[in-house]
């Protein structure tokens, strides 16, 4: 077991690594180019959800991710930070109903508890929804968590002081080339028994992954408090178009700028409304075109939103991987260099549980998750950048 570990990046993955390492009594040096949750983890929607995952490794990992959230909420680390709720997949058109039927089957097949709700029942029980809704499916036992709050909770529990505004510039290799020694920043060199790269898009520069990691922008909106409407929403409402845009149904191409509607009632009485998936650039800005279209969709689904005010909009860049799966595991032949990144739009859900398994791996144990599908070795170009 290592006695010290360096982690590059204090997003949700880096913060969770710090938490699980510290819990084992391992000394952690956590670096961030900016500050904790400065990138995707501070600009995420926060669905801790299996509802929209593609069947297979992502679905099973998401189920483990949700279970970990529940456990950490019980243990107190995520006390008040995890809101258990269902996700309602809502279909309007015939095409959407068709996708939804297929998706429900896949979810049930993976052991997820799903209840289909027909048109009449939707109209009777969910009056907040537009009468145009054709059918819905309730995906049970899910939840919502706000990325920056989770990062904060993990760091507080780990008790460490983060090295803010200190970018990891290089990974230092031992003189015989068999393992890594540590990292270099503008302030100097740091050594440790192991190094983990959890730098989101910044991982590309450190590991020669440009072209493999792709920024995928998302824009999100937050409303003012509207407790009455919020209280009438039984859970998150997710338009089935989300399934199409996310490409979780294989064989359907995703547009360059997809709008995928999710309306999440927050604990504060506010609503979080998402969002876009955009292939162009990593800008952290919002445009009226996207914002007004998202809201038009939201009002079409939940007409009551028309009387609420928008408080904030924000945007972030997801770290996507060309083949759609995260990159988690040991790097090349270096026994003590690890990577955990590429979670695209799922890292709030998958980040903590993946970090737990990486820490097991770092400590020479067999990880609880099957990380094989995510192995870094599927990218031969992946190496320590000079």
């Amino acid at each position: 077991m290592p006695s010290s570990v360096i982690v590059a990046g204090a997003g949700i993955v880096g913060a969770a690594l710090a938490y699980f390492l510290s819990a084992r009594g391992i000394r952690v040096e956590l670096f961030d180019e900016e500050a904790p949750a400065a990138q995707a983890s501070g600009a995420a929607d926060g669905a801790v959800s299996v509802a929209s995952k593609r069947p297979g490794a992502m679905m099973t990992t998401a189920l483990a991710g949700i279970a970990l959230y529940r456990k950490l909420a019980r243990d107190g680390v995520f006390a008040d930070l995890f809101k258990p709720r269902s996700t309602f997949l809502v279909a309007a058109s015939d095409a959407e109903c068709e996708v939804l039927e297929a998706h429900c089957a896949a979810l049930s097949g993976a052991g997820v508890r799903v209840t289909k709700i027909d048109r009449a029942t939707v109209a009777e029980k969910f009056r907040v929804l537009s009468p145009d809704v054709g059918m819905a499916a309730e995906v049970h036992d899910e939840g919502h968590a706000i990325g920056y709050q989770i990062v904060h909770g993990l760091l507080r529990a780990s008790g460490i002081a983060v090295r803010r505004r200190e970018k990891v510039q290089r990974i230092l290799v031992s003189s015989d080339g068999t393992c890594v020694k540590g990292v270099a920043t503008a302030k100097g060199e740091y050594t440790a028994d192991a190094v983990i790269i959890a730098s989101g898009l910044g991982s590309a520069d450190l590991l020669g992954l440009s072209g493999t990691l792709i920024p995928r922008k998302g824009q999100l909106l937050v409303t003012e408090r509207a407790p009455a409407l919020n209280g009438r929403m039984p859970g998150a409402m997710m338009s089935c178009r989300y399934l199409l845009s996310k490409g979780s149904q294989k064989g359907r191409p995703a547009p360059a700028r997809g709008l995928a509607l999710v309306v999440d009632p927050l604990r504060t009485g506010q609503f979080l409304i998402g969002g876009t998936r955009e292939d162009h650039g990593d800008r952290r800005t919002n445009d009226l075109d996207a914002v007004s279209k998202i809201l038009a969709d939201a009002v079409a689904l939940i007409p009551g939103l028309v009387d609420v005010r928008l408080l904030r909009c924000f945007a972030g860049a997801r770290t996507a991987v060309v083949d759609g799966l995260p990159i988690i595991g040991r790097v090349g032949s270096f026994g003590n260099l690890f990577v955990a990144t590429g979670f695209e739009g799922d890292g709030i859900c998958l980040g903590p549980v993946s970090a737990e398994s990486v820490v097991a791996m770092v400590c020479g144990e067999k990880p609880a998750l099957n990380l094989d599908p995510f192995t870094p070795s599927r990218f031969p170009k992946l190496r320590i950048a000079a």
Binding site: A35, P36, A37, R283, L288, D289, L310
Partner: protein
Amino acid sequence: MPKCDVLVVGGGPAGMAAAVTASQLGLSVEMIEQRRTLGGAFFRQPIEGVRPIPQRASVKARWHKLSADMSRAPVRIHYGCVFLGVDSDGFVLFEDRQVGEVVRCAARAVIIATGAIEKVHPIPGWDRPGVSTAGGLQVMMKETGQAPKGRILLAGNGPLLIAAAAQMAMVGNPPVAIVESGDPMRPGLTGLGLLVAPYLLVEAFGFLRAVYGAGVPWLRGARIEGIEAHAQGLQATVVRRNGERSAFVVDRVGLHEGIRSNDMGLPAIADASTSSPIVIRAGDCSEPLGALAAEADGALAARKVAALLGHGQSRGGEQALLGRLRQAQAVLAKLFAPTIAPLDVPDHTTLCRCEGRTIGDLKNLVAGADLKSGREVKHNGRFSMGSCQGRFCAANTAELMTRLRPGAPPVVASDLTGQRWPLRPVSIAALVAATKVKAPVD
């Protein structure tokens, strides 16, 4: 969709001067103003049918000239329109509250002249009903032509307290006292520096005469410690330099600790000729120097924009005037420097009113060796996350964070507020209405 060379945001003296000068220089100009009248904070116009409060002749003359110039200039004014920001496509966004629609405007340049806001320090009870800003009471007087009712205590720092008290006295309800942390009359100080701006001296004498004439006590070197509920209204505790305490039972308290730029969340300044759009700030929202300076700075901003847009260089006397007024402000700041140390503020004191967060909450969050950024404190303490978008608490939170962590890098208000639209909460109905407007084609 409106299309123009220059969009001016805010119809105070800075915005008006900017619009007038820009159109004189041959640029097409439009203006948005959230209210239904021009004038801003200083030249706030009375509502219809109300007799204005007495004003000095020179102030009246300045307003007449400015509004006459403005009505002659071919500037389209959109009233009832709230500036929301500049989006990532480079469009200026505003909410037209009369029509109920968010509008995007393709402007080559934006001159932002949104003025100043008053600073208020958190003390126990600052968020009680009946407590407002002193300038807010003053502006209300200008609008209604009447003094605010009841017994009023003004407290804080700076010349505005005297001006507000004088105007209240003139319309028949002088405040019960002015509590001032500075002491401009202390021995060893001469007002001679003020000769750089003689009009300020004239103004000051006029105000002081009105205040003394009405017998209003001016408690200098004193601070207000807290405001509590009382059977007959509010009870304010005042502490003098020598530690002596006294209580005032009043109906209202007007607090004021000077002004700061109303720049929360504003888009970044972009003043290269290649910027699209060019974004610059003018008047109090760029540097809070008062109404006369605002007017000069507005004209200067218009000249700068004209030059950037290739409409040629031009010069007025604004730079020199601004220099003198800057010096005058520095002298005023020295005159009014507090002569009593800040009081201890208890942890239960509200810091963020929108989200109900206290000074104690902030202390807990920033305690320890892990030096959180302003953004982290915002996110996890919810400071500046409420509907005022940080207008009331961002600066105080940043200041307190900096004070609580000596040695750590200082935190500024914009670390909490960021720079993104919408600057104000905006109706979703109005945003949805914007989808009906076709995106512009160039």
